[in-house]
Symmetry: D2
Subunit: 482 residues, 4 copies
């Protein structure tokens, strides 16, 4: 259930097509479609045709925003970048949608980023004190300033980026278009994924996830290294590695829930990582049962892994109503529980009179879980054993994930037996931190597990608000703080 | 892929609430949500509050049609009936949406039906010759006339229905509201499902599928018998069995594809029937392979059945993009193949270098299948063995299913080896007719398999157009015929 | 101000184009645009292409309903008919929009009518008792039945119409399309206007008002005679005059307010009739004043007439905000008076320190009038003398005009001095009945002034509800009556 | 006809309510409604509640943008400013809508401006060279930078504004909200109007036109002096007159066409100015005729003036279809001429067999005029004498009016006799420049007549593009220039 899940904020995509045919907008559109799960609040595309940039962005899903001829109006070009954004709070101003397009003395620049800076506040103040003005509350605007100010003295846009990066602390996987160049940048800590691909000889692409490559027929080339800057221009692509050196710390939740199962991050299949999580879970928390089921969609892979490891048969425990979308309108006279019942239905043929292992990937507040468990009981399940394929959330994320405040997190509020009682299950088991760090088999990186452990790869300012993230906070809230 | 599938036309729902509280509209809304897979073209609800009927219906999905206060405006009542409709051709006139509401000398009547009559044309002519006029081209209007004309002399609405039924030949599962009664009717041949349920002591409900009961917390009571008329009024419910006697002939495709897996029809679980279909398929068409995968969503159950029976591991072969809906806009400059690639993506981790059994429930034209197979090849599958959990379509349906014309059906055009070649698979196998008749284990009915065999439970007029169905054919077409 | 006005229900249009080019839909669209003032609730067009009829109708204004390709989808044809409808109460069901299209044994028929029958209720009961069913609560459906039932035995559609007309009592100006003929009918009492025009040699048109002819470049031929039936088919046009004979009784309010000033009805210019009304008013109710102003838009013509006759200068007293349309949203925190202020503003340069004669065409409830007078006072008017270019409404209309119930009509509630006091004017004067009957100089007809006098050209059933009109009354209301 | 008219770009409004009740948003909404004629492309409102600013702006008309709860969501506050914008070319990016809201070191600032700077390009370059970045192509963003940069050293926002004004050359009437102050500024040349009003003791308002005051019940206090800065805060209002001194040069076209007739600018009634223009025209270009008519809506006042001065009777020559709005859809198969015919219709009763003086306020390209003249001829007018209540346009405007390029202006292309021939009139006469400067009787200002004479009150850079204006030029165009 969406409203019981953590949310990742953004997905980015960029394409450079030497041949300059009219497909860069269409390919960006298809890629954003494939990245839609990373952000459903706003989306946007900027097309760069020989230095002339056309932009379209708005609130809404990719097909809604780019219908009605919007895609066609973007026209042809050599470069396009795209962005999907999730916002924790409703976006007040459409101007916060990305890519952000700014003009400065050396021409226009468009930029889309995924992640969150921990020093955005300091940088913003520094810029304002030297005459800058801000239209939005986004990290994207802060980063744009840092780059364009360097650009005043730098010999090229890539040198400006290179000089700006050391000032930025936090998570940022980003794509930038200058009038003639496409630049991709991954922060030196490697929090968020960013991959490079290729279509034929003429086209280089970058995307937050490799599933975007499949959707446009691109082949995966490699992941960007933490700190790497890749520049693509008519002369080809080249890498600036000044800021490389650290080992990556990919957010482990990318494997557990955020990324699409058909994506491969740092060499490890997300689908396989989830099955492994389920298998580890079976070892850590075995139970005698008749059937293993997953909570659709994201709990299914781990459930299969659990079933395979435990030898207990895998079954289809729930049917998800595929017509329940954003537009679900709850009749005012119905209780909230109906919402769960219309979205999911238990398959009695699978669970009736059975001891059921129900696998889900995470549990945030726990209220929806309780309703789901009721569905199983009503369908005749004799026992329900909940297994969660990640450790309990206990801490804020400073790098782009929106986590509920601590007082709402069930794992902060209650002990394990209390959680079991509150959600109505017969037993409960979470994956351990050491095991969650092993699910991405073969990944050539380390992981950030700060939300489970409270230990982060980068120093977090004590006074920083929890849940600081790169999304437009309503003006009211922000201004109040000042 | 939707556009490669057969389509069922309709779903019906009815509720009688003795207590007359204000939830009949909301419950009908939730039930139609659960029945949405049976029809996405139009939907409608009629609420009957002590003889005053309020109606709302329109083109579009349930949440779209009933948003913006439409549901609230229906108000409270004792009876509500609802309908979802699939239309093979775009509906020209909204007035064809159901429930159909008519007024006659004994007051208003609302009616929603699922199925198709084979003698609609004759009845229509008879009515017109005696002074009737038609606003739509629907069976619902023909049936309304047959009932209201009997009503002129009949002592009650249920007697009028009882007298009208023998005149109707074909498939009709319907719900009717008179000012004071809710009536459910199933045709004497039992082509389409229709079940009765209960909420507490005061509420009786009817629905095309039992999944609608789960969505509103109703408990299943029983299926209507073929030919049965159930009347619910303030005195309780009673059954008129004058036309009962025949053994049912449920459309076997309800089990194979139309119905939701969490529904139970005539005592047999749809989910289990699909798994059994897969298991039979494994016996009929075994193959040496490394993994069994299903084409989402409807091929998954049969794939699991195949895997279990064959002992070959089950795997997740495809990820479906859950944001691709009705609004997908294909960039004009992209080839049609991109449509498949954005909807589905193969999971390389599952199929790379593997011999793959790919299970789907049916194959209509075959073009989409070819694209899906390409996805597997591109992801590295070494062999692809296609298994179809139903026999090949070769004949028209006269009872409410929209089947392509024969010259487009791949099974009519090509031999098995040719189908394999055209779709690019290494081998192909369809379920046999005798086995498809065994999938619904425990069902207390027979089956209609006319679309596979050309033998129908009822005589089909030779001159009848193939694909005659209860959907508004554009006026132009109809009038041309006259 | 719209909400203080009487409303006419409908406008009709029909075109027959022997050449059968693709302009009949477009011309009907333009004609309905010109007739939009006669009805803003629903509109529709039916195009008849060699017996194949295509229809599009919906709630909304003409440009909204026929945008997005709807007009183009109607295609080409030889005949088209169109209709705009005003509904006193919100239309519950779109199926009440006209033209009504029905099918019967002799083929399809489309029909649009303007007016109201006084014996609709009787006819409806008669039809229901002989096996008819009703989908709507419109006179159009009753008339359709009367015609199609005659058609069963009549040798042609026009003979069926001829036989049906004597059964219909009340106001009906209508256009009918059969598969090959366009038929226009005006009721024998001539309540509502209906004119015939011509475009070149090949096209015959009919419209409620001549302004529709101007919008499509047609030339006026003549008004239909009361009771006349005109048939247009490939052989040309011919008239059936069986029911002619009575002198017409045109609703005088067509001249006063309903019709567009650029229309000519029964030979009399509406614009000139309004100026004459103003001139008569000046003679009946002279006053010493400095300036004569009109309430936009419909009071302006009469104000000019008053000014010319009285010799008092004409001035522009109000500016109407041309951006206030249907979509005006009143801030919830503002009082209702703001609505008047945003729609109209007084021109201080015209009225300051002046004795003002303010001319309007009618006064219904009086509340808006009071707010308008306040605007003049606030702008500095020293005296305000209200002159109304029609007599006071005191009686219901049974022929197609929606008049408020008596207890809301200011002229029923209050005496003249009380009206002056309640609306805040210094003096008040209404046009007399004898004078209102003289405003349409040269008109070759009599007038219906029943709403002023209570005397109608046709017997009105005593038990009939006031305000019976040809508009879909909500089902709830109707059914309650039974 | 709209598409044959010049366009003004913007209207501004601001309110300060000491009591801080919840009406500032609603009043701004009503005021923008009254100013809608000054700009229909975008509109926006910013509400300032104790330093917390909430903004809503979008493309579309005021009622469309602020429907659906948008107004309510703005909430209560002490200050609100609003803006309507006309854009010569379709606005690519919604972020160009005003008020522009920026954040800088001293807090947020919102700003809306009407007019155009001649040195925007220079200032923009200066800002970019010192590290600024631009999101839009608007003067508003340039002005925001100029003010916020001064703000870094200035002791208050008003001193920052005072220091910034001398850097700005051109037309700007603007309203600014800081966290605690409402500031109104009029440029030192006084190109565009800006008035101050009052509601009770607690509320001060500013608006581009006084008609906005009437719509909210405010009383006019005075016009701002050219160069004046008025600051309103909790201590009251005060004026900064450092930059005052010049005599105003109000755009004379404000009187001729832009402003609403019920507005009063610099002490002169717009309605009266138009009547005087007509009267002068009658003296300059007399003709023997039977009737004087105006082209609705803006030619009517001048026609009345002409009639009164000449003694020829005034008549209503045209009826405008009040349902033709933005949404008019021209049937593709109809010629463009139909557009004129559906919008306007000639009143034959007025013009038939008459010698007609047709008065309009201006003529741009002349094509629509030709169609209008045809309407009169078709209605039987014997002679048509066109009189234009302003001099011919021959030159670009640099101060906020969008004038067609010279090669399209009929007065640049053709001589007077040629214009008469091309538009089909019997004679033609334009108002002279000396007379147009006298129409605003009693106005305490001079006038800018640059578009007629080519002489501007301020030096215009030779290399400046014609039609430079404060509207978002599509990025493509802008960037191309660089």
């Amino acid at each position: 259930m969406q409203n019981e899940k953590l949310h990742e904020e953004c997905g980015v995509f960029g394409i450079y097509d030497r041949s300059g045919e009219d497909e860069v907008a269409a390919k960006t559109y298809l890629a954003l479609y494939a990245l839609q799960h990373r952000g459903q609040e706003t989306c946007g595309i900027v097309v760069n045709d020989e230095g002339v940039m056309r932009s379209h962005k708005d609130r809404g899903l990719v097909p809604d925003v780019f219908g009605h001829g919007a895609l066609e109006r973007l026209g042809k070009g050599q470069i396009a970048i795209g962005h999907v954004l999730y916002a924790a709070k409703p976006v007040q101003s459409r101007s916060s949608a990305q890519p952000l397009m700014v003009r400065h003395v050396k021409g226009p620049m468009a930029l889309g980023t995924n992640g969150a800076l921990v020093n955005a506040h300091e940088l913003r103040e520094e810029i304002e004190r030297s005459g800058g003005i801000f239209h939005t509350d986004t990290d994207a605007e802060v980063i744009s300033y840092m780059i364009t100010r360097e650009r005043l003295s730098a010999p090229s846009i890539e040198v400006a980026v290179e000089r700006a990066v050391p000032r930025l602390r936090g998570a940022f996987s980003m794509v930038i278009s200058s009038p003639t160049k496409l630049i991709a940048v991954r922060d030196p800590w490697g929090f968020r994924p960013l991959s490079m691909g290729r279509i034929g000889d003429d086209q280089i692409v970058f995307a937050s996830e490799t599933c975007a490559f499949d959707s446009i027929g691109a082949t995966f080339v490699r992941d960007l290294r933490p700190g790497e800057i890749v520049v693509v221009d008519p002369k080809g692509e080249r890498s600036i590695e000044t800021h490389c050196g650290r080992r990556g710390n990919v957010c482990v939740f990318e494997y557990v829930y955020f990324a699409r199962p058909d994506s491969v991050i740092e060499g490890a299949s997300v689908h396989m990582a989830r099955q492994r999580a389920g298998a580890f879970l079976a070892k850590e928390h075995p139970v005698e049962a008749d059937v293993v089921i997953g909570v659709p969609d994201s709990g299914l892979d781990a459930a299969m892994g659990y079933a395979r490891e435990s030898g207990i048969p895998y079954g289809v425990g729930f049917i998800k109503n595929r017509y329940v979308g954003r537009t679900f309108i709850q009749p005012t006279q119905m209780e909230r529980e109906a919402l769960v019942r219309i979205k999911l239905n238990a398959v009695a043929a699978t669970v009736k009179d059975k001891r059921v292992v129900m696998v889900d990937d995470s549990i945030v507040r726990g209220t929806t879980t309780a309703h789901i468990v009721e569905l199983l009981r009503a369908a005749g399940a004799r026992e329900v054993h909940m297994r969660i394929s990640s450790p309990p959330f206990m801490n804020p994320c400073y790098f782009g994930t929106d986590i509920d405040s601590r007082d709402k997190l069930i794992a902060c509020r209650l002990s394990l037996p209390e959680i079991a009682r509150e959600t109505g299950v017969d037993s409960i088991g979470f994956l351990s931190v050491p095991d969650v760090e092993r699910i991405a088999e073969g990944a050539h990186c380390g992981f950030c597990t700060g939300c489970f452990t409270g230990k982060y790869p980068i120093e977090v300012p004590a006074e920083m608000p929890a849940n600081k993230f790169d999304c437009p906070i309503p003006e009211s809230v922000k201004n109040k703080k000042k």
